[in-house]
């Protein structure tokens, strides 16, 4: 549960990171294929949940993801990296996430649907993944496991919610 929220925002960050260059376009060019992404809506959802997330985050010293984790992705590996991250979020983060806040659930549900649509559109793309890209994705899994370990002692939904937004700051950098 805790890992779900954190990884959700992580994926959001990674997605926006990958879309940094073509940010002003609704079409995401990934190697030889193009994917339509409603980037405006994605950012809108992000900023909608950001304020609530950082308000209650009192775990000042815990930061699961760092900018270095997703920086310097080669242009040829963007397709591969985004595809693996989408799979990670859809299969692990959103599946295990629940929230008592209806507004937050609605926003995260919209984010999940957006991810699924993007992932579906990327099936037609033939992405070649290299080893460095795979290692970066493995680092994400380790961070997610660390979140699960840190907040394993807390049995409160609030902490779950807070842990979900631990990666928020990373997104902010690339917005």
């Amino acid at each position: 549960m805790k890992t779900l929220s954190s990884l959700c925002l992580l994926f959001l960050f990674l997605l926006l990171c990958c879309l940094t260059k073509p940010a002003r376009s609704q079409t995401l060019l990934l190697n030889s294929c193009s994917v339509n992404v409603n980037l405006e809506e994605l950012r809108k959802h992000y900023y909608s949940i950001r304020l609530n997330a950082i308000t209650g985050d009192d775990e000042i010293g815990v930061k699961f993801l760092d900018k270095s984790l997703i920086e310097d992705v080669q242009d040829g590996q963007r397709c591969c990296f985004l595809r693996l991250v989408l799979r990670f979020y859809v299969e692990r983060v959103f599946r295990s996430y629940t929230s008592s806040q209806p507004q937050d659930e609605r926003i995260l549900s919209s984010l999940a649907n957006t991810f699924i649509i993007i992932r579906k559109d990327m099936h037609k793309c033939h992405c070649l993944c290299e080893e460095p890209t795979q290692k970066r994705v493995d680092a994400l899994h380790q961070a997610f496991n660390q979140v699960l370990k840190v907040f394993s002692n807390y049995h409160s939904e609030s902490y779950t919610f807070l842990s979900f937004f631990k990666l928020f700051d990373v997104f902010v950098i690339y917005l």
Binding site: D58, V172, I173
Partner: protein, 589 residues
């Protein structure tokens, strides 16, 4: 046991002292152009000597120890134990890639409050944008708007000035243009800091305001102050103004000068000035003065009353008649010095009065007098003064008596003949009494020139009038010429002659004398002099003496001796009537 109680007491005291100082409230980090300042409000009950201490931490920066991770709080230089309620963290939060936390607490000499934490502060997301720098230049019909910034706050002077646009590539500008003339405000989204706005309206004030704008990020942005410019006037309007100023105005000035000059010229040269009426009379009367009545020797009264004049008709209903003066055969002496009287008439008014008279005559169907139409007396006026000299001529009373009528009141010193007993007016033949009463005092012994006009216009009639029996001849002539004149000369006229004896200096009005004899006999008690019958005709014609004004130019004393002279010759009645009417006829004697 005692030790336990003492420790508990100390612990309770410590807790009491520590909790006594309230914590600061409203602890936030406000940021404008990345100038990040921690602000707080001292809690209620905080003593005045309380001091505050500020610390900050970077998100995710912790130290691992035996108990786990501990956040590494850092001291802010310049914000340790300060009395102020703010602390500038711009230098500590310089790195935009990190998130920051801050905390503050109040402290006194003995105690301190608890720490109050802020929420996580992400400088890049939580800052607000100040107004950008806007420069506006007018080039031709466009306004070139140059936008800079806003600039990032520089906590250290040695750092280069950096625009916020470089830190936020996705930042846009929102330009607002307000047209004060139309009251419209239009907005433009600019991706660069240079914009050229077309100024479509002349003489209009345009106001510009710019602020940063983000499509997605919920960042607050402040607008710049309205900078207004006023476009110049329309060149066409300016040209028209110049045309007006350069051509029309001088033209008008020239016109005004010309008009003024013309008026001055007219004034100085005496052109176009209208001589006062009295002066005109005076000038016009000069010939009359030169040729007084005595010299004209014209004493004929042409009574053109119907063939059967009504002697018994009263003055109130006089028959239409014409009275004429026919000059005696004596030559006219222009150089006679004793000029005392002259007939005066106004040419200008005579024409008008002639029309009036003519209209009246035509309206009076009972009179059946179709007077001979004469030319304008004004036309003949100058001619008359000269042409009548030494000539015998007749006067057609109806026309000219009216012409002399209006001049009566205008003549200074004129002598009115009060033939009309009722209104001291003399009625004119061819006029009813009521018409005569409406007129000015009349005297049918008209102006001399009027007779001249007649003489000039009807020269063929002047021959027989030279006969001795002028009246008979006049009757015959009118009968004879009646068929020849289509204008109405065929109307019967009865000519009344006024006998003027130059030797005696006495004017005899036959009709007048007759009237006087018949009507005023009880008063006068005397006989009329010779020609009494004719005088009666004159009175019947009544007052045919339309208006003759005798102007007395000589001294009064000359009249006195003359009157006695007339008495024996003219009988008792004549002088009395003349005296009664104040009618004085000078004589050559």
């Amino acid at each position: 046991m005692w030790k336990t109680v003492l420790l508990l007491s100390l612990g309770a005291l410590w807790c009491t002292v520590s909790a006594s100082l309230p914590s600061p409230t409203s602890v936030i980090i406000s940021s404008v152009n990345l100038r990040n300042v921690l602000e707080w409000t001292p809690g209620n009950g905080t003593p005045g000597d309380a001091i505050f201490t500020v610390q900050y931490a970077v998100y995710g920066d912790s130290d691992a120890d035996s108990k786990g991770r501990r956040v590494r709080w850092r001291v802010v230089q310049g914000c340790v134990e300060v009395a102020q309620s703010w602390c500038d963290l711009s230098n500590e939060t310089w790195d935009l890639e990190h998130g920051y936390y801050a905390r503050v607490r109040a402290k006194t000499r003995r105690t301190s409050s608890t720490w109050v934490f802020t929420r996580r502060f992400d400088p890049k997301s939580d800052t607000t944008f100040g107004p950008p720098l806007v420069t506006i230049e007018i080039e031709n019909n466009s306004a070139i708007i140059t936008i800079k910034g806003p600039m990032r706050y520089q906590p250290k002077n040695h750092m280069a000035v950096v625009s916020m646009a470089t830190l936020y590539p996705q930042m846009l500008y929102n330009l607002s243009v307000k047209n004060t003339y139309h009251g419209e405000t239009s907005h433009f989204r600019l991706s660069s800091g240079l914009y050229k706005h077309l100024l479509s309206d002349y003489n209009t004030e345009y106001c510009f305001s710019v602020k940063a704008k983000f499509l997605v990020m919920p960042i607050q942005c402040q607008s710049s102050e309205w900078q207004c410019i006023t476009t110049p006037q329309d060149p066409l309007v300016s040209q028209l103004q110049w045309v007006i100023m350069g051509i029309v105005v001088p033209f008008l000035c020239v016109c005004v000068i010309v008009v003024i000059g013309h008026i001055l010229y007219q004034y100085l040269m005496g052109m176009g000035q209208k001589t006062p009426y009295t002066l005109d009379q005076g000038i016009f009367n000069q010939p009359s003065l030169a040729f007084p009545l005595e010299k004209i020797n014209l004493n004929a009264i042409n009574d053109i009353a119907p063939a059967d004049p009504m002697p018994d008709q009263h003055f109130e209903d006089p028959p239409p008649q014409y009275a004429r003066y026919l000059p005696p055969q004596l030559p006219y002496d222009c150089g006679h010095p004793s000029i005392d009287y002259s007939f005066v008439f106004s040419p200008s008014t005579s024409c008008r009065q002639e029309e009036r008279m003519r209209g009246r005559v035509n309206d009076e169907g009972g009179n059946n007098l179709n007077h001979q139409k004469h030319h304008s007396s004004g036309v003949y006026a100058p001619q008359a003064t000269s042409s009548c000299l030494g000539r015998s001529f007749h006067a057609d009373l109806p026309e000219h008596s009216a012409s002399a009528e209006l001049s009566a009141p205008e003549q200074a010193g004129t002598l009115h003949i009060p033939l009309n007993q009722k209104g001291d007016k003399i009625t004119v033949s061819g006029m009813e009494e009521k018409n005569a009463n409406e007129l000015e005092p009349l005297l049918s012994v008209y102006a001399a020139h009027n007779t001249k006009c007649m003489a000039a216009a009807h020269s063929e009639q002047s021959d027989f009038r030279l006969a001795d029996d002028l009246r008979a001849m006049g009757l015959e002539e009118t009968e004879k010429d009646g068929g020849g004149h289509a204008e109405g000369e065929e109307q019967e006229r009865e000519i009344i002659f006024i006998d003027w004896d130059p030797k005696l200096g006495k004017l005899v009005l036959p009709e007048l004398a007759k009237w006087i004899d018949s009507g005023n006999e009880p008063e006068n008690g005397g006989e009329s002099n010779e020609g009494g019958e004719e005088e009666g005709n004159v009175m019947e014609g009544a007052l045919l003496l339309g208006d003759v004004f005798v102007r007395q130019a000589s001294e009064e004393e000359e009249q006195a001796p003359r009157e006695p002279e007339r008495d024996p010759e003219g009988g008792g009645e004549g002088p009395d009537i003349l005296a009664k009417w104040n009618l004085v006829f000078p004589s050559d004697d």
